[in-house]
Symmetry: C2
Subunit: 491 residues, 2 copies
């Protein structure tokens, strides 16, 4: 009887998964291939699929089955735990509230898109205020249901089990140490990276994907205005953009390959089930940053990277590994988060974290956001934006339903990447040589065994990390990594 | 109260539409862009979306609302009629039957795919027998519910209101007349059509799409193994293939443009509703054939076609309109339906129609299909396949759930195209000149007004045709068209 309930849930969550996968494919289509006129219709279809999935999840049968179901072994138990978690999160908000919030978000997004190019914060402020009202209500209601503070309740959507207190503590350590490192290693203007025509860059990008373990039988590469990764283990879709510096297009592909490798390595036996998913956004970002930052900006990989570029561009595009490595590890404070280097990036996140926690608890009036943002940037990065376009208006997150309490996962992902990398490099003594030869199999194998194949078996990213490295997340490995890479022999 | 029921139905059918549109987009993705490994997962997602749509349609609320709903004006009344029609068709089969049939179909398809290259009918026969059993059961059950003969019941899925008796009568006229025309006009081996590299052919194809009224803001062009059209008015997706003769790729695009123009011209105010859909497959095929056969194989269009080719290929690819027209209207019996010309094509359909009606009513044992097929081809086309690969194994239709009683709509579409064209040419005296200049606006305008914008307002394709031409479908206009084009001055 109980087991019937579990089997019914397995069926139901597989259907929910299919609906969400379909919505993700439509979203990918809208962002890469769809004719311009198709966008509103696709938006409506995606909303319908999400609503159907939500209705199945919160439907009357789910609660009874979730109460009655029993698991026979640890993975089933973890699956049931994740089912219950998803159900709890979904039922914590009335449906009308979800709809009103989604509408406020799309209004705010439209206003933001128009306000950003001019840096017109005054035009954006009413929409921000309205949407913030919804976010505060949501955080309060979900917090009451889950027994959590408002910000912790929002974090549950992105990194289950993560608490604001531990973020405050880790970010406190980072903001104490990082500005000093930046001062010691900052360079002049960034040296120009590799250049080349789009068609040839694409060829290099495809070779990189195969190198990392994502062959064309299982993965695509397309163009979009912001790089992203979507899809399922056997249907990976990476995008990049060629509008910026050509080398950036390739680094974006490497970053997305980290996300893609995670998706590809999720436990095959649990593909349609909650326990078969990735362990939240901190873990996801750790995988992209581990590939992009730890592995592919290393001195070892620069050797292979130079070889890839020479293969495609010949001597005209010849790069020596030292020059490439200098480009890849150049440090320089700048206004834009998405263009930031590895050392200044966490400081960009801390600026946003300070602003959003203060707006959420009411200590920062949204009207004062530009000043608060600029003050924080001046304090942490030593530069002051001349215009909200380069300040608080640069990111879309605060107009997205899932955009609040999301920023921290970028910096936590960097910490987690470094912590995993430290353990992995110790376990694989030949790794630098492997990367210099473009052999990613040992790295991918270690990550698959210790991270990817565990899906959501562990209840939190900290538990996953403890399994892989022996301890929950801290700043130690990240700071040691920065010291090794940026301050060799200086300390 | 009654109006509430109607409004609930409007909401529900919009959701069903979104689910089906999403399934169609996934199907397009699977056939054009998806990595090879993605296919099974996409199949599962598509099946889930279709099942969800079906469950909404047959759900307990629908029947009550459909009984209670009242329409306030003629389009609402037509919409309600179409809702009831879809509901009746969907509820005419038990869900378990639908599932068993779908499984038998996918088994049969797999067997067919393996048997066809070798022409191994013996390998295919058991799967055909099993699936035919399902088809006969389905036709009988649906026939009982709808009060129709088995074949008429199947026709309801493709061309509502179409009855087998009228098909038999029209096909009887065609098979009396067409072989004689073929004998009089058949040419030697087909002259070589235009050639050119894929990249340049694509550019010509894109210009053709814009010419017909399908600009890139609303329509895409991709490659697939069989040409098809998918999408919605503002999100049109045409595919073609470049594996055959290069000119065939362009003619396929023109054919698909006819389907696409129909989709693009459907009534905008009813976009999410049953009455906003196309009026069945005979009507759909009439639109593709009107563009491809009637308009784009005309002497007038050959002038513009030659210009398009010269623009892209310069003098090396120069074609004069007369030579192009000779290629486009070459008549020669051949084994393969998809390669057939305008005159022999309906005979290919009649061969299949004879075989499938006889298998359905039990007068033809599937074991005797190859002989029956070859005999019919010998009688109608004067050629005899040497191998089932060129005979009864060439089409996938008899392994598809919606493949039976589908063939007739191809030939009926040709009749309907000619009937519409005859009225249109009479209404637009400058049309030949317009086509010679590549100006499709008058043609597209006439079709939009008289066909596309009516959606499913008319209860059948005959009613639609009667509205546009003053009479239901017959063979007259088609035979007159063949005489004008192929036998000028000979009669």
């Amino acid at each position: 009887m109980e087991n019937d309930a579990y089997q019914r849930l397995v069926q139901q969550f597989a259907t929910i998964q299919d609906l969400n996968s379909a919505a993700n494919t439509l979203d990918w289509y809208a962002r890469t291939k769809a004719p311009k006129a198709a966008q509103p219709g696709l938006g409506s279809q995606i909303a319908t699929l999400r609503r159907q999935a939500h209705e199945l999840l919160v439907g009357p049968k789910s609660a009874d089955d979730l109460a009655a179901a029993e698991a026979r072994e640890p993975w089933e138990a973890a699956n049931l735990r994740e089912m219950r978690r998803q159900h709890r999160l979904a039922t914590a908000l009335p449906a009308e509230f979800v709809e009103a919030q989604a509408l406020a978000a799309s209004r705010a997004q439209l206003v933001w898109e128009r306000a950003r190019p001019e840096g017109d914060f005054t035009a954006f402020l009413p929409a921000l205020k309205e949407f913030l009202g919804h976010v505060r209500d949501r955080a309060r209601i979900q917090g009451q249901v889950l027994g959590l503070s408002p910000y912790d309740a929002l974090l549950e959507s992105h990194d289950p089990g993560r608490r604001n207190a531990s973020i405050t503590s880790m970010f406190g350590e980072l903001e104490t140490v990082l500005p000093g490192i930046v001062d010691r290693v900052r360079g002049g203007p960034k040296p120009a990276g590799p250049t080349g025509k789009k068609k040839r860059l694409k060829r290099v990008a495809r070779r990189m994907m195969t190198m990392i373990g994502l062959p064309t039988t299982h993965a695509r590469l397309d163009t979009s205005s912001h790089p992203f990764t979507a899809g399922r283990p056997e249907d990976i879709r990476i995008t990049t953009r060629y509008s910026g510096a050509p080398g950036e297009a390739l680094m974006a592909v490497l970053h997305e390959c980290g996300h893609a490798l995670y998706i590809a390595g999720l436990p095959a036996a649990w593909r349609q089930q909650p326990v078969g998913a990735a362990r939240g956004m901190t873990a996801h970002e750790s995988q992209s940053l581990l590939i992009e930052m730890l592995a592919c900006r290393s001195r070892g990989f620069a050797v292979h990277y130079a070889r890839l570029l020479r293969d495609e561009f010949g001597e005209e595009g010849a790069w020596d590994p030292d020059r490439l490595h200098a480009v890849l590890t150049h440090v320089q404070p700048g206004f834009m988060r998405v263009e930031a280097d590895e050392v200044t990036y966490p400081l960009h996140i801390i600026i946003r974290y300070r602003c959003e926690t203060a707006m959420l608890d009411g200590t920062l009036d949204p009207a004062d956001l530009p000043d608060a943002f600029d003050d924080a940037m001046a304090a942490l990065l030593g530069i002051r934006p001349g215009n909200p376009r380069e300040g608080c208006l640069q990111d879309p997150h605060w107009t997205l339903v899932e955009g609040w309490a999301y920023f921290p996962t970028y910096a936590l992902g960097a910490l987690m990447a470094a912590q995993l990398a430290e353990t992995m490099w110790a376990a694989l003594p030949g790794l630098d040589g492997d990367l210099a030869r473009g052999d990613f199999a040992p790295l991918a194998g270690w990550l698959r065994e210790n991270v990817h194949s565990r899906g959501c078996f562990d209840p939190s990213s900290d538990a996953l990390l403890e399994h892989a490295t022996g301890r929950p997340l801290d700043t130690g490995a990240f700071l040691r990594h920065l010291e090794r890479r940026y301050l060799p022999g200086r300390s």
